[in-house]
Symmetry: C2
Subunit: 337 residues, 2 copies
């Protein structure tokens, strides 16, 4: 029986901050799955900062979104009709055909996930998904966290940042410092996630606040923000500090080149290492990640917070809000129950 799917298309490339009219909700009739295919009803969708880059229409490490075609993105859904005996109806799967109510996919492009635990399916979009893996790869494999390190992470109340801070704790950091964009988020970092110190970057110069929060300097910086944060981290870096550069959300909506750190010569004098990375380059680390981190999420040593927006039709709003910092923890969209 054919299914009517609703899906968001990108219909205009955003100039500056995206607006809702850059997206259009389109209906499409999906046929029954053929052999080896599954029809999925989505439960929950991911909106992530990297999507802003794919809207710009420029090839970087990944192809841009096409105009007038369905958006892609992480999603978890339930198999409603199956042409693959290994994925029976009712199986919960993770896949990348997000921003839509239903998806018809080759079974090979989905991965079954276990939703028997206390955490909902959205955990596979956050703490145990791409953001969690990003934190793990960047902190442990790119920045090379060592016991006793002082770790600074920007965007610390976001999906990646919150995991960076908690993993740093779990793996023996000496001091964990985060920045976020409101007093409520700062309290969340310290009171709920166990950061040693945190500050609101909107309330004063990052450099001064970081120097106060990390008076002995920082050994590791996990950068989600770029710009002033990166400059401040260089100022406060100890000799031989290692920076994992993950993102630069401060510039994603910028229409002109963002301000750049003026102190790059300190990379030489302090012998810093800055490594840019993309999580999809290291798929072999996903197994280690799940082995090491899933138990800590399950037993509560790692806390999971989400900001949930209800309704597929609100996906663009959720995305735009996330870029403004409207989320604490992972921002997800609940599509169906």
């Amino acid at each position: 029986m054919p299914t009517t799917a609703r899906e968001f298309h990108l219909v205009a490339r955003p100039q500056g901050e995206p607006v809702e009219t850059d997206f259009a909700l389109v209906e499409r009739t999906l046929p029954d799955p053929g052999p080896g295919e599954v029809l999925i009803r989505n439960l929950v969708l991911s909106v992530d900062p990297y999507m802003r880059g794919k809207m710009a229409g420029v090839r970087t490490y990944t192809d841009p979104y096409e105009l007038n075609a369905p958006m892609e993105g992480g999603a978890v859904g339930v198999v409603e009709a199956s042409g693959d005996p290994d994925l029976p109806v009712g199986t919960t799967v993770l896949h990348s055909a997000g921003w839509r109510s239903h998806a018809l996919l080759p079974a090979a492009r989905t991965r079954p996930v276990d939703t028997s635990g206390p955490l909902g399916p959205s955990v596979y979009l956050g703490a145990l998904g791409m953001p969690g893996l990003t934190a793990y790869v960047g902190l442990l494999h790119k920045a090379g966290l060592r016991e006793g390190d002082t770790v600074f992470v920007s965007g610390a109340a976001g999906a990646v940042g919150g995991m960076v801070g908690q993993l740093a704790r779990l793996y023996g950091a000496g001091r964990v410092v985060g920045s976020a964009g409101s007093p409520e988020k700062v309290a969340y970092l310290v009171d709920e996630l166990g950061f040693d110190a945190a500050f609101d970057y909107r309330s004063g110069p990052v450099r001064r606040q970081l120097a106060e929060a990390a008076p002995d300097g920082i050994d590791v910086y996990f950068d989600n923000v770029g710009g002033e944060h990166l400059e401040a981290a260089i100022w406060c870096a100890n000799d031989f500090a290692r920076f994992a550069l993950c993102g630069s959300i401060s510039g994603y909506n910028a229409t002109s080149a963002p301000p750049a750190p003026r102190n790059l010569f300190q990379i030489v004098t302090k012998r810093l290492t800055l490594r840019g990375f993309i999580v999809s380059d290291d798929p072999h680390l996903a197994r280690d990640f799940h082995r090491d981190v899933a138990p800590a999420v399950a037993d509560g040593r790692i806390k999971v917070r989400e900001t949930v927006v209800d309704g597929l039709e609100n996906t663009p709003e959720a995305f735009i809000s996330m870029l403004r910092g409207g989320n604490t923890g992972k921002m997800v969209v609940r599509v169906s129950d």
Copy 2:
């Protein structure tokens, strides 16, 4: 018999470009060497970009020069009187008490060098000295040169840069590209040192010229310059390119913060690694360096060019000229024969 030494003191911290009145030539009477000491008559002195940093009065990776005290710097001299039986009169030694005619030093702070070959003692200040070791450590150990890499080096006609290009050639780079500050230097790089391509950064935008010289992008960048060069190298970098950041001479005389690269987000999207380094952190590599590089210098596979200024009294002028790019190859000051 006491010796009258002439030595340069730093008497004012330079503001912007150093001027000759920042330095004063002072006479001092040196006593005969005591036990374990040697009196050295200097033959040749080094002037190096790093010295500008030490004049600024700010502690970085090394202490600043003190005011009204003798300058330090690489030098090669001959033992004229000895209190150490292992260093008889006539021994040629490398040491760090430069900017002066004579030095009285503990023998342990000197290192005998072999001057029986065709190259003069100054080779230990350049190709086989700190600049050569800097090139070797940065290119092979920090940037991790691989066979077939396209290598870009800025300040390529300088003491370090010329070695970087030649070592890249020797170690199997696929293409070697350099920038320098005059048409004559560009010709020297291509015609004498065997660079595949070179350009005059004063004759047009670095980014455009680099893109033309390295049409398939660069895999390694050895940065001596910073600023516009670093930005251009990021623009032209291939995915997973490695940058060894050695210096930033474009900013050393700057009185305000220099322009900074506006494209640092490409460090993420291209997964670049930027490593700042200081050659003195890796003294254990000096043995490998001499074993690997000295034969290539001796048999002419690595060419040695120097710009020689005569007379101790002209040391400040040589230093100021070097910062302006007045040298091709290593800038040295000949003090005595």
